[in-house]
């Protein structure tokens, strides 16, 4: 089997995903366009050498519809021979793109791939694409549909995480993110979003608030309590029979932020990299994806990570740093407990609670953050993982070269 290497990664800053967010006025194609141009310029890339572009996008409707990957390639003036595919594995889509790219390269069928994702959540809100899982009552009922937040609160209840526990985790995320920003730790990967005049629209993650405290969070109302009481709690409790009540602890301050953003990663084989003068930064050791119980939905991280470790022939102790997507505070806390790992190795520069979770892009973003941090600390191996809608998990292990 061939090896797949990461040559470069770029991402946009994440803009608040509301109409007063800075990236609301930027089309998702333009978000990607900025990054395609950056990737081309940073690597003096002959774009005709790219075999495929895989873009994750969870809400591929409207401006994000009709295969935004191919649209953005052409918009960016890349060679016409570069194809593109858009895929969705819900919140894992960004990492799914990376994993598909890695597998394409490993299989030997293709040699150079751009993987990434995009989501303009302010313009095309979550759920704009519908889906039988939620909207078809027969299927909804059969699958035991409940929103992610119910699953997160269910995890917290099962694991005994209190409101204070999850809020403390959120404060950690904000503080680490603020510190990382102040130290310029994202500078390598972060490419400011510019308009067609070259004027900067946004050059930093917009939702970071280093001043957040558990006190300031304590006033926020639990987001999922009302809908839980209306019926979702009972759907969950029919499956989790040992639990008497769901403790609704998640709210806007300890859940991932709704933001706009995009990311790209350049992945390829060693010979191709050599031919194009690209320097490999890391080898993709293994990739994994699993399915898990869909109502609680968000417990797929540990099994996915374990599967990736098995494939790589590694043990959890071999991993120097983790990036686990902060979909909700309880998700990461549960994963850390399940994997029996040290929290000090996890999300050391904050996560989606502070910086937001642009659904289709996040997986790619956290893997890039992981690689930057491995390089900064001069460590070797990292694992990125996300929980995924409808009960799935994904993981990727990289090793610096």
């Amino acid at each position: 089997m061939n090896e797949a290497f990461i040559f470069d990664a770029v991402r946009t800053p994440r803009g608040k995903g509301k109409k007063d967010g800075s990236l609301h006025e930027v089309t998702p194609v333009h978000l990607l366009g900025n990054l395609f141009n950056a990737l081309e310029n940073r690597n003096s890339l002959d774009t005709s050498q790219v075999d495929d572009v895989v873009i994750g996008c969870v809400t591929p409707v409207g401006e994000q519809g009709a295969d935004i990957a191919r649209t953005a390639i052409l918009y960016s003036g890349w060679a016409e021979n570069v194809p593109g595919v858009t895929q969705s594995r819900f919140c894992a889509s960004g990492l799914e793109s990376v994993n598909l790219a890695a597998m394409k390269v490993m299989s030997g069928q293709e040699d150079l791939i751009v993987a990434g994702g995009v989501e303009s959540m302010s313009r095309w809100p979550m759920g704009s694409d519908g889906g039988a899982w939620a909207m078809d009552p027969r299927i909804n009922e059969q699958l035991g549909f409940a929103p992610q937040g119910i699953g997160a609160d269910l995890i917290a209840s099962l694991e005994g995480f209190s409101r204070h526990d999850v809020d403390a985790f959120a404060v950690r995320s904000q503080q680490l993110a603020a510190k990382a920003h102040a130290a310029g730790r994202f500078a390598k990967t972060l490419v400011p979003v510019r308009d067609l005049n070259g004027m900067i629209v946004l050059d930093h993650d917009e939702t970071v608030r280093g001043s957040t405290t558990t006190d300031s969070l304590s006033s926020l109302k639990a987001s999922f309590e009302q809908m839980g009481v209306m019926g979702f709690d009972s759907t969950a409790l029919r499956k989790y029979t040992t639990l008497e009540k769901i403790n609704h602890v998640h709210h806007a301050g300890n859940s991932s932020g709704i933001v706009d953003g995009a990311a790209l990663m350049l992945i390829g084989s060693a010979p191709k990299g050599k031919a194009l003068g690209l320097k490999p930064r890391a080898r993709i050791r293994s990739v994994a994806v699993i399915g898990s119980e869909p109502t609680i939905m968000l417990t797929g991280i540990a099994p996915a990570a374990e599967k990736a470790l098995r494939k790589a022939g590694m043990s959890i102790k071999d991993i120097d740093l983790f990036e686990i997507n902060e979909a909700f505070a309880a998700v990461v806390m549960k994963a850390v407990r399940a994997l029996n790992i040290d929290m000090d190795k996890v999300n050391v520069n904050g996560g989606s609670i502070a910086m937001g979770h642009p659904l289709g892009a996040t997986g790619c973003i956290i893997l890039a953050t992981l690689l930057d941090e491995l390089e900064r600390q001069d460590k070797q191996v990292g694992l990125a993982s996300l929980c995924v809608g409808a009960g799935m998990g994904i993981a990727t292990i990289i090793e610096r070269v």
């Binding site: 109409k19 609301h24 006025e25 409207g62 308009d195 067609l196 005049n197 070259g198 004027m199």
Partner: protein
């Protein structure tokens, strides 16, 4: 005095009256915006003010932005800030918490209409001469004062797009019908009264887009019907613009993207696209030429000073063919008494009937009345009698391009017209100085070169012969302005300025065909260059036989003058088409194209044998074809400037656009060189000369300018 005055009446209704000192019209310049903003602040702070009426003391309400200021901006950030500042001011006005009414006493265009759109209600005097619209696109710009956001939210995306993309100027009725104006008033007093009573009846108005329940009329940009509109809109625009006008694209982007986001974000998006256009080469080209240079021409820059403005009362026209008939029409239209003379009364009447035909069309469109037609036609006397020319101030001959015939009619005419009258020739090719030798008064002899069709083409090329006096030039200039056309003034030369430069376009197209380029690719490249018609189709219109005639005449003339004749590589092809293949052009139904028989429907088609007769060789890129055709024209225009045939940059640029349809987005034939960069142009022309022949050698003046780092100013 401040450019804005405010009075407050007993009911607390404030009237803001715009009146820029020392300017004929109100424009959104600093002098107006500063006091405007101050008054908005005062209104916000004064609870006693219950409503605001915005009006003007000029004939027009507000003519638009300050083009001088916009033209000077080269930094997109500054352009962005300028747009944002205006928008913030208007935003404060519409959010000031009390009714604001635009009392439109007259024309409101561009920024002027945008100000009105930011008011809660618009009442206009029912003045058929007033115009309303967003014509920024015509100068390569877009409405940057919120117009691309307010108008679609007011009348719908589908209705607003053409208004902005075509820059349509609506009369007051049409503006009311489109929903841009809410109410009409008979006069100023009624307008102000209606404005006031609306204020009193609507103490807390909210703009539709600030209403939480706002629904886009016809749907926002996500609506399936609107999605369909945007799917085809770029193709519809592109069919006209060939992608040469970024303003069209940017306007569509403003409306589309604005239709996805909230009003405030939409406004910022608009400022970004506005800034992009302000600093674009295309807008600089268009504003420089179609605004500043055109204005300087209209103000009489090329008219000699010191001669009182003259007016033609009675005009004689010799020859009632296409040109003569058209000249009669445009002259009678402005009230000039015309004598239309031809050798037979049938021919003369046929010339007069041309006006009748145009008037009938105008009646059908409601722009003329049968009575008006009668009065109009009474001004044109069709005749064969030279005696009818008695009393003419000006006579224009438009007879066959033959020296002997022209000399003959000149003599016959001068025998009857007053000694003070001006005699003009509408020749397009024959030197005026030579024709003037037939005249008793060569100092009163001048060239007035009209373009066909006369009623549509906006330009007249005035040619000064060796002996033409300044007084005669002034008279000719005044006449051209009297018939509402744009005059450019050129010196006598073979083909003058326009015909000579225009010919290079067509000849280059034919040279390309001769070289084995695909005929359709040549035509396409002509269109992509921004020319209205491909070179081969144009040559068919002009007719190949006429070109052969001119070619032979030129050869003869030069031989007589003892000068060498330099041929063009297209000549063998013209001769072959005309003489060997008997395809002389459109009139004969066959040239480069096959034409449907007269009276039958159908489209012209490129003659399929062309690629057999002129076998295809290796194909050049479209860009190469475009550059060859543009360089040929621009270089020839530069030579004309060098030889003093055309004397001002303004005349050269405007003459090229209005005369032969040179790409308007390039700002004219000399501006093309400026925009390309004079040094770069010289280098490229030299390379073309090496590759394709000495005709591309850069004009000496360009080499000199490149050396001195100068450009056409």
């Amino acid at each position: 005095m401040s450019a804005v005055q405010m009075t407050v009446d007993a009911d607390g209704i404030a009237t803001l009256t715009m009146d820029l000192v020392d300017r004929p019209m109100n424009v959104l310049n600093e002098a107006l915006m500063a006091p405007f903003a101050d008054y908005i602040a005062k209104i916000e702070a004064d609870a006693a003010i219950k409503g605001v009426i915005l009006t003007s003391a000029k004939r027009e309400f507000l003519a638009g932005a300050d083009i001088d200021m916009v033209f000077g901006i080269t930094d997109p950030k500054l352009a962005f800030e300028v747009a944002e500042r205006l928008k913030q001011m208007l935003r404060r006005l519409e959010l000031c918490g009390r009714p604001v009414v635009a009392a439109l006493n007259g024309t409101a265009l561009g920024g002027g209409l945008e100000v009105a759109l930011a008011c809660h209600w618009r009442v206009a005097i029912n003045d058929p001469k007033a115009k309303f619209g967003l014509p920024e696109v015509k100068l390569g710009l877009l409405p940057g004062g919120g117009g691309t956001q307010r108008l679609p939210r007011m009348i719908g995306i589908q209705a607003s797009l053409p208004l902005m993309l075509e820059g349509k100027e609506l009369n007051v009725e049409a503006a009311k019908q489109q929903g841009i104006i809410n109410e009409l008033a008979a006069d100023k007093a009624e307008m102000l009264a209606k404005a006031k009573s609306w204020c009193l009846a609507n103490p807390k108005p909210v703009q539709p887009w600030d209403d939480k329940k706002f629904k886009w009329p016809g749907g926002d940009a996500r609506h399936p019907a609107v999605v369909q509109v945007f799917a085809i809109a770029p193709s519809m625009a592109g069919a006209k613009t060939q992608g040469n006008y970024p303003a069209a694209t940017n306007i569509m982007s403003c409306v589309y993207e604005g239709g996805i986001v909230d009003f405030e974000s939409g406004c910022r998006i608009e400022s970004r696209y506005f800034a992009n256009l302000v600093v674009s080469q295309v807008s600089k080209n268009m504003i420089g030429t179609l605004w500043f240079q055109l204005n300087s021409i209209n103000k009489g820059k090329s008219r000699p000073e010191g001669f009182p403005k003259s007016k033609v009362q009675k005009l004689g026209i010799l020859g009632a063919g296409m040109m003569g008939a058209g000249i009669a029409y445009v002259s009678a239209k402005v009230g000039i008494e015309c004598v239309l003379l031809d050798s037979t009364i049938e021919a003369a009447e046929k010339g007069k009937a041309y006006s009748a035909g145009l008037l009938d069309k105008a009646i059908k469109k409601g722009r003329e009345t049968p009575a008006g037609k009668g009065v109009f036609l009474d001004r044109i006397k069709a005749t064969t009698d030279y005696a009818d020319l008695a009393g003419c101030d000006l006579v224009i001959e438009a007879v066959f391009e033959d020296r002997a015939i022209k000399a003959d009619v000149t003599k016959k005419t001068e025998a009857v017209i007053p000694a003070t009258a001006t005699f003009a020739s509408n020749t397009s090719t024959l030197p005026i100085t030579g024709l003037a030798t037939a005249s008793l008064r060569p100092e009163q002899f001048i060239g007035l070169h009209f373009f066909s069709p006369v009623d549509k083409m906006p330009l007249v090329e005035i040619i000064i012969g060796e002996k033409t006096s300044k007084a005669t030039l002034a008279k000719g200039f005044d006449y051209v302005q009297q018939i509402k056309k744009t005059p450019i003034v050129v010196n006598d030369s073979r083909g003058f300025y326009t015909s000579r430069s225009f010919a290079t376009y067509v000849m280059e197209g034919m040279a390309l065909l001769q070289e084995g380029q695909h005929p359709r690719s040549i035509e396409m490249a002509g269109l992509k260059a921004g020319m209205p018609v491909g070179p081969l189709a144009l040559q068919d219109e002009v007719s190949l036989s006429l070109s052969v005639h001119v070619m032979e005449q030129t050869k003869k003339d030069l031989a007589a003058e003892g000068k060498p004749y330099v041929g063009h590589p297209s000549e063998p092809l013209i001769l072959k088409m005309c003489k060997e293949l008997n395809r002389p052009g459109k009139k004969a139904g066959k040239g480069f194209y096959d034409y449907p028989e007269a009276g039958t429907k159908g489209e012209k088609k490129l003659w399929p044998e062309l690629t057999t007769v002129f076998p295809l060789k290796e194909q050049l890129s479209q860009q190469e074809l475009v550059e060859r055709m543009m360089f040929a024209q621009a270089n020839e225009a530069a030579r004309c400037f060098e030889e003093n045939v055309v004397m001002t940059v303004a005349d050269a640029n405007i003459g090229s656009i209005f005369g032969w349809g040179f790409a308007p987005h390039q700002g004219g034939a000399l501006q093309y060189i400026n925009a390309y960069g004079v040094s770069k142009f010289v280098a490229r022309a030299e390379a073309l000369a090496v590759q394709y022949g000495p005709r591309f050698k850069p004009a000496a003046i360009l080499v000199k300018m490149a050396g001195e780092g100068k450009r056409f100013e």
